[in-house]
């Protein structure tokens, strides 16, 4: 099987998965309507308002959200068609709660989420790989056992609680302590993405952009640490185990027999090969970035997508959840595809498997 056939096969597979996800998504968010017979419009307007509304207005409202009152099977097909068209054209409809286009709401939060997730992932990956390599040189050493124990501890750590503790220590206790000692509160903000007052101020200031960037960074640090630590353990363990496996291979022995110095063996021969599965993991990580971290974003009051999805779910704001879900699933599928491709290119063996 050549590279070409491999790409075609993976593409077809990806396409089928996307179709499955689209259908699943449609059914999932209409489950309450299908099973319980609740119309989402009922959730949106009160009974009194409904009685006062003219029939035309009501039908208009239904049409606006791509719904049909008291649907039969053909209406369901029609609704599926409407859904399909809206999903494929990138018009995700209107939020029940705010009556604004969903895509606008999502795009507003996307940069925040990507910033938070991106920085924390990059930090976690870099430190994870770096320490993983350092430790894998000498498996079973005191340093190795210690770091593995720390990684296991991180694995067991609920990240949202870690975030809460960070907030409490650096967002509350530290400013209080410095206030008492020096009269100036020094610490980190208690959540949020940007200070509103500063935002307004920055509109007039010539250095507005720098001020905003600085303030966002200031708000970013604590959630980034929380998520970075939460992600670090996994990358570390994965890198370490891969490298330890690789270092038992015959070609490492060959390299050593050739008389290469240990650093060259480790980085040129060992790490290069151990990085292969790591590439997949990294690609998948970046695919999952867009989903944000609902729990951590909730803890830090971060104006991001994860928290938005959660809020929309609790408020039964289906258009939002549906669109977010769709985007998330498709990015994951694409990331999987990219990971497969990368792997196929980097490691030719996989194509012939």
């Amino acid at each position: 099987m050549g590279l070409r056939e491999y790409v075609i096969r993976r593409s077809i597979y990806m396409f089928l998965l996307i179709i499955a996800v689209i259908c699943f998504n449609f059914l999932l968010f209409r489950l309450p309507s299908l099973v319980l017979g609740v119309s989402p419009v009922d959730l949106m307007i009160s009974d009194r308002l409904r009685q006062r509304m003219s029939r035309e207005l009501l039908l208009q409202l239904y049409a606006r959200f791509g719904l049909v009152p008291n649907p039969d099977i053909f209406d369901w097909i029609y609704m599926f068609w409407r859904y399909l068209v809206s999903m494929l054209t990138g018009n995700f409809g209107y939020s029940f709660a705010t009556q604004t286009p969903v895509i606008g709401e999502i795009m507003e939060r996307l940069p925040n989420t990507l910033l938070l997730m991106g920085t924390s992932s990059v930090v976690a990956i870099i430190i994870g790989i770096w320490t993983g390599v350092k430790v894998a040189v000498d498996p079973g050493s005191r340093r190795d056992v210690g770091s593995v124990t720390v990684a296991l501890f991180i694995f067991a750590l609920p990240v949202f609680w870690f975030g809460l503790m960070l907030l409490m220590i650096f967002g509350f206790m530290l400013p209080n302590a410095t206030q008492a000692l020096f009269g100036v509160p020094i610490g980190f903000p208690l959540g949020g993405t940007i200070e509103y007052g500063l935002w307004v101020q920055a509109q007039q200031s010539p250095f507005g952009a720098i001020m905003i960037a600085g303030d966002i960074l200031y708000h970013l640090i604590l959630p980034m640490i929380a998520l970075g630590v939460g992600g670090y353990g996994g990358y570390f363990i994965y890198m370490r185990n891969n490298l330890i496996d690789v270092m038992t291979e015959d070609y490492i022995l060959t390299a050593r027999a050739k008389g290469l110095d240990e650093n060259q063996v480790l980085y040129k021969h060992g790490m290069k090969n151990a990085m292969l599965p790591m590439v997949t993991i990294i690609a998948l990580t970046f695919g999952g970035l867009i989903g944000g971290a609902p729990l951590t974003e909730t803890v830090f009051n971060w104006h991001g997508l994860g928290r938005y999805i959660l809020q929309s779910l609790v408020a039964l704001d289906y258009p939002v959840s549906q669109a977010a879900f769709m985007i998330l699933s498709i990015t994951t599928i694409l990331a999987n595809f990219v990971a497969d491709m990368l792997y196929g290119v980097l490691d030719p063996r996989i194509r012939y498997a």
């Binding site: 694995f155 949202f160 609680w161 209080n176 989903g291 609902p294 779910l313 879900f325 599928i333």
Partner: protein, 521 residues
């Protein structure tokens, strides 16, 4: 090549002892087991360990009180709790009969057994025309009764701290038995009152409770939350300011008394004291005085003033149950799917594995949230949600193992003697792939525990039963930071971490011991 035979060459289940010996070499694993046993003990003995009802709204003290042991940093700390030295009258209290009348008396009854607890009877037997020393004219709003002849019992408590309590909850539990004219007359209940006073060492009396009719022999608690004025009157004299304090000693006397009222002297044109014959018996079962301070119990109180320790202890049950049951369910699904897929191969395998792939691309946490929101908040649903999303790892693992096993000679011979597919799958292949499963299962429990905590933190689980995630959610949503209540944030999180850490350590060690790939390294 001669190799020393070890237990590793045999099946894992043949040599439990060998396995234990190997496991014990891993310090981390042993620590994990000890930690797990600790949490299991906590869950099993939760009713014995808990000091209060674990309900979220079971108020036992003020909101956000610090743990009791934290008061080592605060010399004037007041721990919330019972301040009566002998609330149930295990020993006889001091009896005082004020005035010279012989009509009053007190009887102490010591407890015989559980059904017959100790109590104190205050009695007043009046014979018509026996004179009593009334205060004439009666002083309105007096702290003392209208008659100088009365009976009371008292108990003394120490108050060495130089600080007022934040609040005082006073409860007296009594029933009143009447006889003679006190019973018959419609106004009989107006002729006496049951009082409670606080008496400081300067002999200033503060009336904190006085009864009103109707009276019944049934023992009922009378609660009164002391006002800040009452607290100030009674306690302020004991607070040292600039090196001096008003009262000579840091002692406070709680008195429960029975006294005739002014109505007994003269009531709507009549003089009841000249006509009444009969008796009043007040059976006091208990007197409790709970003073609220800044400190309570082992782990302080939550935002609703409930005992955090009790919630924490009962939360262990929730986390363990959900963690173990969800993993059990997902393991069963995963094993069955993996076995069938791996053993059958072909179309069945293809379909099942594509379904697994599909589940893996659906964003995990959002899907869990969706299902939790749609299905509802009961514990069973949470188990279901966690299990339905968690079986894929097990299925993949089992499938790959089964594919390797199924071509081995023992499977072939089993089939040759006519064993059915199900028999071969479950009796021959499954035991051989089990060891590698243990680590995955144990680590699955960690995922389930963390998922449950996360869902609870987001408010998507049943909040009527205590859980660590709900405790954290309560703390976060009610501004625990704002009042510096670190204990409601620290301890539930530590508990979650500790429990999942125990499973992580055990899983890691099992992987080291049982995974053949790691063994050979």
């Amino acid at each position: 090549m001669s190799r020393k035979t070890s237990w590793k060459d045999s099946n894992w289940y043949v040599s439990i002892r060998g396995f234990v010996r190997e496991y014990r070499k891993h310090r981390v694993g042993v620590f994990g087991v000890i930690l797990l046993l600790f949490f299991i003990g906590m869950a099993v003995f939760a009713p014995n360990l808990a000091t209060n009802d674990p309900g979220r709204s079971e108020r036992v003290a003020s909101p956000f009180e610090a743990p009791g042991w934290a008061q080592v940093f605060d010399p004037n700390a007041i721990t919330t709790g019972e301040y009566m030295p002998d609330p149930l009258f295990a020993s006889a209290p001091t009896e005082v009969i004020a005035g010279n009348s012989t009509e009053f008396g007190m009887v102490h009854h010591a407890a015989v057994n559980e059904e017959d607890p100790s109590y104190v009877n205050l009695t007043w037997t009046h014979t018509a025309n026996t004179p009593l020393d009334f205060v004439v004219p009666p002083i309105p709003l007096s702290q003392l009764p209208d008659c100088r002849d009365f009976v009371y019992i008292n108990e003394t408590l120490d108050w060495p701290k130089d600080r007022l309590p934040n609040g005082v909850n006073f409860t007296v539990n009594y029933g009143v038995t009447l006889s003679g004219d006190f019973l018959n007359e419609t106004n009989g209940g107006l002729m006496f009152k049951v009082y409670a006073w606080l008496i400081d060492t300067s002999n200033e009396w503060t009336m904190i409770y006085s009864s009103s009719p109707p009276y019944t022999p049934i023992i009922q608690p009378r609660r009164s939350l002391l006002s800040s004025f009452e607290i100030n009157y009674a306690w302020a004299g004991m607070i040292r300011e600039n090196g001096t304090q008003e009262d000579p000693a840091d002692r406070l006397t709680v008195a429960i008394g029975l006294a005739p009222t002014k109505q007994f002297r003269y009531f709507s044109g009549e003089y009841p004291w000249t006509e009444y014959n009969g008796s009043v018996t007040v059976q006091v079962m208990s007197v409790s005085m709970i003073c609220y301070g800044g400190y309570y119990g082992v782990m302080g109180t939550t935002n609703q003033g409930a005992d955090a320790w009790s919630q924490l202890v009962f939360g262990a049950r929730m986390s363990l149950t959900i963690g173990i049951l969800a993993t059990a369910l997902s393991t069963v699904i995963g094993v069955v799917v993996g076995l069938v897929a791996g053993y059958s191969g072909g179309k069945v395998d293809e379909v099942l594995m594509r379904f697994v792939d599909f589940l893996l691309v659906i964003p995990f946490l959002p899907l869990m949230l969706v299902l939790a929101v749609f299905l509802g908040r009961s514990a069973a649903n949470i188990i279901f949600v966690i299990a339905i999303l968690g079986w894929t790892t097990v299925a993949r693992l089992i499938r790959s193992q089964v594919m390797a096993e199924k071509n081995k000679a023992y499977v072939e011979s089993a089939r040759a003697i006519g064993a059915s597919d199900t028999y071969v799958m479950f009796k021959h292949i499954l035991p051989n792939v089990t060891p590698i499963l243990f680590a995955t299962i144990t680590l699955g429990v960690v995922g389930a525990i963390l998922s449950e905590a996360g869902l609870a933190f987001l408010g998507l689980t049943d909040a009527t039963y205590p859980s660590w995630g709900i405790m954290l959610s309560d703390a976060q949503q009610n501004g625990a930071f704002g009042v510096g209540a670190w204990w409601v944030v620290l301890f539930p999180g530590l508990a979650i971490t500790g429990l999942s850490l125990s499973f992580t350590f055990i899983g890691h060690t099992l992987d080291q011991v049982l995974n053949p790939r790691l063994r050979e390294r």
